[in-house]
């Protein structure tokens, strides 16, 4: 187990290094040196101004040196400095990330709270009404472009019924976001629905898989009551693959998060990334891409380890 853990962590480090290299190369594909400086401070900047920009951001160094510098700063927790906002990327993320944790975290928990019991119910009454409705709804949700789903919700609840605002709460910190719960409803609901669609099929087949296991038959043979059996044996065992699923779905969840933030103008990391891309604020783009890569790798690692901890049958050499 220890050997497996060490190997797994080493692999994760290699992957993170790979992510930084890819992100760095992509960033430098866009523009380098004086061309980049002109792109940021304007085509009519004087050569002296360009020179100052180039030396300030170290753009006159060879690329490997720039990469090493970037990596060195990253190891010290410094993701870079925005070209446009006169703030460090750390400061920007420090401001935006907690709001995302509220938005993405809430909808993640809500979608699991719906998908898990529903998946068990679908597995138990396979091909029943609940099963068919559940499968149909999740397929429908999965097949829509996520932004269209959000827009349909806006059309129904903001434009027609006028119950809820179409825009997410605006504010620099979590407190200000939470102060406007009505505005949070639609973004959270649409993210929840999309994540539910992502999870529900998986949960259903995990529960069906568990139902076919011998220990369920044994439990039935012992004469356990059905609710107890579902709770103690089926649900618990079906949760094991769900941990992996959540860990592996992180890129998908963050992607959906970005689109949802864009639709509802939610001031989070996703929208910041989008705006940075549109405004050529490359350090912010790079910093967020690397951060997201880190989160994904960490999620996969935790999912693997969680699997080994939760399932005593799993043994690693």
């Amino acid at each position: 187990m220890t050997a497996y853990l060490i190997r797994r962590v080493l692999q994760a480090i290699v992957v993170v290094l790979g992510v930084t290299i890819v992100a760095f190369i992509l960033q430098n594909l866009i523009a380098t040196g004086p061309a980049l400086a002109h792109a940021i401070i304007g085509p009519r900047a004087t050569s002296a101004q360009v020179q100052v920009f180039v030396t300030t951001y170290g753009l006159d160094q060879p690329l490997p040196v720039q990469y090493w510098h970037f990596l060195w700063q990253l190891l010290h927790g410094n993701l870079g400095y925005s070209y446009k906002q006169n703030q460090s990327v750390d400061a920007i993320l420090g401001q935006q990330l907690p709001k995302d944790i509220v938005l993405v975290g809430t909808s993640l928990i809500l979608s699991l709270l719906i998908a898990i019991p529903l998946g068990v119910a679908q597995a138990v009454r396979r091909n029943g009404v609940v099963d068919h409705v559940g499968t149909g709804v999740s397929l429908l949700l999965y097949s829509m472009p996520t932004y269209w789903l959000s827009l349909l919700l806006i059309a129904a609840f903001s434009v027609s019924l006028r119950w809820l605002p179409a825009e997410a709460p605006q504010g620099v910190n979590v407190g200000q976001i939470l102060a406007d719960p009505a505005g949070l409803v639609l973004p959270v609901v649409s993210l929840t629905l999309v994540n539910y669609a992502l999870f529900s099929r998986y949960m259903r087949s995990a529960a069906i898989e568990s139902l076919a296991q011998d220990y369920i038959r044994t439990a039935r043979a012992k004469g356990l009551s059905e609710p107890y059996l579902l709770r103690r044996h089926l649900l618990r065992n079906s949760l094991i693959p769900v941990t992996t699923m959540v860990g592996l779905s992180l890129p998908g969840i963050l992607t959906v998060g970005l689109v949802t933030e864009y639709v509802f103008n939610f001031p989070g990391v996703g929208l910041t990334f989008f705006n940075a891309a549109v405004n050529s604020d490359y350090p912010v783009e790079l910093g967020i891409a690397v951060l997201v890569g880190l989160v994904t790798v960490a999620g996969n690692l935790l999912a693997d380890i969680g699997y080994a901890v939760l399932d005593p049958r799993v043994r690693y050499e």
């Binding site: 692999q11 290699v14 992957v15 993170v16 790979g18 992510v19 890819v22 992100a23 992509l26 960033q27 594909l29 866009i30 397929l139 429908l140 999965y142 097949s143 829509m144 472009p145 996520t146 932004y147 269209w148 827009l151 349909l152 806006i154 059309a155 434009v159 076919a212 890129p251 998908g252 963050l254 992607t255 970005l258 689109v259 864009y262 990334f273 989008f274 891309a277 549109v278 050529s280 783009e285 967020i288 891409a289 997201v292 890569g293 994904t296 790798v297 996969n300």
Partner: protein
Amino acid sequence: MSDTSAPPTAHVVADPVMPAAGEVHAGRSAWRRAVDSFLDNKLGIAGIGLVILVILFCFAGPLLYHTNQVSPNAAQINLAPSSQHPLGTDFVGFDILGRLMSGGQSSIEIGLAVAVVATLFGVLWGAISGYAGGAVDSIMMRIVDVVLAIPSIFLFIYLATVFRPTVPLLIIVVSALSWVGPARLIRGETLSLRVREYIQAVRVMGGHSTRMVLRHIVPNSVGTIVVNATFQVADAILILATLSFLGFGLPPPAATWGGMLSQGTNYLYDGYWWEVYPAGIMIALTVIAFNFIGDALRDALEVRLQRR
């Protein structure tokens, strides 16, 4: 995969869909069983029918229903549906029904092309990685992990700021991020195939590695590959729609469903429903159809599931 695999006989080796846990019959019956199982699946048939309808609509439709999809017509903007324009016109005066057809062409072409390119590349990558094992496998799989670790939408936005989107470019970009799924699947498949007796038999007989991968490992994973490719089409169409919405789709006057949808959403508050719903419904229908086909294929080709 399964613990009940029967020792295969020599003539099964040539059979592309040797069932993972099936009885050892002649090759034909495995295919026949798969086809029968698919034909029994009502949703699968519905999916095929829907895809045929959508393709006819997009590619044959413009032959019957002529519209101008190139030059804007300022006299006819945002018209409600009428006998002249069954689905109304959009914000520059294009007929929406006609635009749905031409928009569907690019969406379906790109979706299919991505499925082919990504699947071919991913399958080869996964098969080679799994077959080679050792250091090669580690390096190839770490590359897959790196691609997986950066959520695709972030990379799309990145790339779209550098390049001006064209059809071939979109195919390359979406494929470049979609091949990792099949690569992982096929590597897993290869790892389990590699230790089978008939693969070892080929090795004992002095079969070359290239031949082993292309003639034995890839054909034996064909079920997994086909199922995955079907879902790839659906996913690619969704990704394209999202890219268009974020402003990184094909530039006008090229029509795409995603582009139409994102344009239409500007008129959400004006009640121009014909600009918001038709494109979205076409996307959802096409994606659902490919998902139906993929599910039915999986039931038909993966014998392990049939047995339940």
